[in-house]
Symmetry: C2
Subunit: 263 residues, 2 copies
Amino acid sequence: MTVKQLSLPELTETCVRLGVPGVGLWREPVQAYGVEAAARLVRDAGLAVTTLCRGGFLTAVDPVLRKEALDDNRGAIDEAAALGTDTLVLVSGGLPDGDKDLRGARERIADALAELAPYGARQGVRLAIEPLHPMFASDRCVVSTLDQALDLAERFPADQVGVAVDTYHIWWDDRAPAAVARAAERIFTFQLADWITPLPAGVLNGRGQIGDGAIDMRAWRERVDAAGYTGAIEVELFNDELWARDGVELLTEVTRRYLAHAL
Amino acid sequence: MTVKQLSLPELTETCVRLGVPGVGLWREPVQAYGVEAAARLVRDAGLAVTTLCRGGFLTAVDPVLRKEALDDNRGAIDEAAALGTDTLVLVSGGLPDGDKDLRGARERIADALAELAPYGARQGVRLAIEPLHPMFASDRCVVSTLDQALDLAERFPADQVGVAVDTYHIWWDDRAPAAVARAAERIFTFQLADWITPLPAGVLNGRGQIGDGAIDMRAWRERVDAAGYTGAIEVELFNDELWARDGVELLTEVTRRYLAHAL
C-alpha cells in the first residue's frame, strides 16, 4: 500500500533492486493479480511476504453478518497461507450503526477469534490484532490501544494470536512502552509511519513519511528490540501526496528514511 | 463557542429564555466584547459563567516563550476572576517544532502549573487540565488521556488543579471510567459533544450534536455523577454545519438533545 502506484511486478522488481528483503501485501491487489500468481511472483523474486492485510471487521451483531465476516476471514487466512506468510493483520471493526457499546464490540472480537485462531493455526497463519488510533474507534476499530489488543490476544495461545505494533497508532500513549514489553513474543509485526499534521478529511490517508513527523522512531525500534522482537519491520504509508509521486522514487526515499531513522 | 454565531447579548438573552442556567465563555470573544462588560452582561442576566476557555500552551522549551505563556495564563486567570468563574480550562500544548519528547513536554506542563496554580488560588480560580483526543497530541495537547491529566493534577492541591472531562476526547478509552472515579473531586467541569464521522480536514471542527454519534452520553453522565460531581455540564460543539445554522434554533436543539440524552 505504501507504493500502491506500482504494480506487483514493479514492486517486487524494485524491492529486489533496492535490497528490500520483504513486502507486506494487501488482499485486494493480490486478489486482482491472482493469489497464486502473486505468491509465485514474490517467491521467484526471493522476497518474503511479511504480512497479509487484512482480516478483521469482527464486530457485527447480526448473525448473518457475523457468519459472512468469519467466512471472509477464513478466506483471508487461506490467502495468507497461499502467499507463504505466517501473519494476517486484523483491523477488528468499529461499532455497528446506532450501537454505542464498545465493550460488547470488543467481546464479539474475542468470540470471532475463538473460531479463527485454530483455523489459522492449522495453516500456520497467526492473527495479529492491530490496535488503531482512537480516531478510528467508531468506524474502523474499537481496539484503540496496545493494552486493549493484548487483553484480547492473551486469551489465546501466544503462537496463534498476537499484535501488530504500529507507531502511527500508538505513539501518543504513555502506557504503550510498557505494553510493548508486555507483548513480548506476541509482537507479530512492527509497522512504521510518522505522525504529521494537519490530518486530511476522513483521517485515513494522513500517515507520514518516516522522519517527517513527531514520532521518535528509534525509541520505538529500541522498545520492540528490547521486547525480543526479531521479525520484519514494515513501513506503511497512506498518503495522497506520496501516492502521487513516482513509485520507484518514493520507495527509494522510504529505504533511505528507514535507514536514517529506524535502523 | 457552540453557538459562536450569536453575539454575547444574543447568547445571554437566549439562554435566559430557554432556561439554560450558565455558559462557558471563551477568551477571544470576551476580550473583543470587553471583559468587564461581558461580566456585567452575564451577571445581570442571572447566568453563571461556568468556565473560561482557555489557558494552556505550556510546553514551550524556549525561556522567552515560556515566560510569554505564563504571562498569558496569568492574564487568563485574571479574566476568569473578573468574569466570576472559578474554573480556567487548560489546553496544555503540543510538541514544539522538531521535538519528539512527549514526556518532557508533559513535565514542562507540570513546571508551569507549579507557578500558575498558586496564582489562580489567590483569585479563587482553579485550573482544569483537559485531556484532548490523541489525534491532537502533536499540535495541541500532549495530555491525551484522563489518567495522564490526573498524573499531572494530583501533584497539586485538589482545590487548585483538576481536570476537565470531555466525552468527545475520552469516550474510546477503556481506562477512562476508572479515571473518572479516580478524578473524584478534581472534576472541575464536564463537557459534552458526540463522536461523529467522517472527521473534517484538520479534525478540529468535527464535534457532533448530542445524540448524533457513537457516545453513550448517559453512561458518562452516570459515571461523573457516581464520582460525586455536582457541577456544571457544558455542551461544547465545534462544527461548521452547526455553525452555519440559525444560532437560536441551534441552541434550542442543544437543550432538547441534552434533555433527551444526558439528563
